[in-house]
Symmetry: C2
Amino acid sequence: MSQSATGPELDRLIQLLARLPGLGPRSARRAVLHLIRKREQLLLPLAEALQIAAERITLCSICGNVDTRDPCAICTDPRRDPAILCVVETVGDLWALERAQATRGRYHVLGGTLSPLDGIGPDDLSIAALVARAQNPEVREVILAVNATVEGQTTAHYVTDLLHGTDVRVTRLAHGVPVGGELDYLDDGTLAAAIRSRTPF
Amino acid sequence: MSQSATGPELDRLIQLLARLPGLGPRSARRAVLHLIRKREQLLLPLAEALQIAAERITLCSICGNVDTRDPCAICTDPRRDPAILCVVETVGDLWALERAQATRGRYHVLGGTLSPLDGIGPDDLSIAALVARAQNPEVREVILAVNATVEGQTTAHYVTDLLHGTDVRVTRLAHGVPVGGELDYLDDGTLAAAIRSRTPF
């Protein structure tokens, strides 16, 4: 009966939308109804934008970023500092750092973290490509901008070991109190790290 | 900088997705990254499904349901009982009743509820069309399956008044304890209604 109410076309659309992170079957149905109500303003433009993305978006063969060209806009931007390589786990992390305008260097997307339990080893990440890029004498510093999780730190240690003996300086993100954060809500590890890394005022 | 990181195509896609109910800018970015990772399994099929929906989906001129044909599959289904007209606020409610296989009758989608504060009067809803359908001697019962909210009940009373004097029987949904519900978590109004409408065991 549910089939006859929504029809195969809408059922398929709902199923596909429900597979997006953050959406389930119920919110996908709401989204589809919203799309139908906003046919001109939302449904048609979204269909077109997805088509364009599907046609043009590709992965940068140098850094792993997503863009409409390969190499990507960041890798080919002459204003970016080629001496700094900022290593991130995912493209989402790269976007976050770009929004924050946190670095003027270039990026390297690992594609995840080492996770033996999930069967993800060094060969599943673009670690070899990172080591190769770091051999370039232009590169002076590798910033390990991985998540402060066990997997992220494990991966950071593994990469650091591989880069040992090269001339590049390997750095990692500072631990500390988030800007705007309240001490009372922070975990002990963060507070201890913030005290340890205290700076002159 | 955010522009240069994601590019205009992805920025537009993120903006459009962020306008879906249940998604914001952050979850839209995550959704886009997920779509790019699942290009063949999700991005291309979703673009196609949206295109198909945009081309084929229309509103049923009789009941207001969405379907690929007009009149819709429910209005033209000879197995549905033409004596029962189930009045709902939205197509989402119609889908919910169909999933529950709650009625064998046909539907009438009002398109919302009366809401003077929001400037929504009888002419903004398909109330006149409902009254016209109810004149059909085939129709014996109008079930007011509107939400148990103030607006829903106001609308139900308004429709009931308009149908007064016709031969149709006007009914509404029962109030009571939801199936699987725990008394301790229910509001007083629901509990009182459930006691009032108690049935022999």
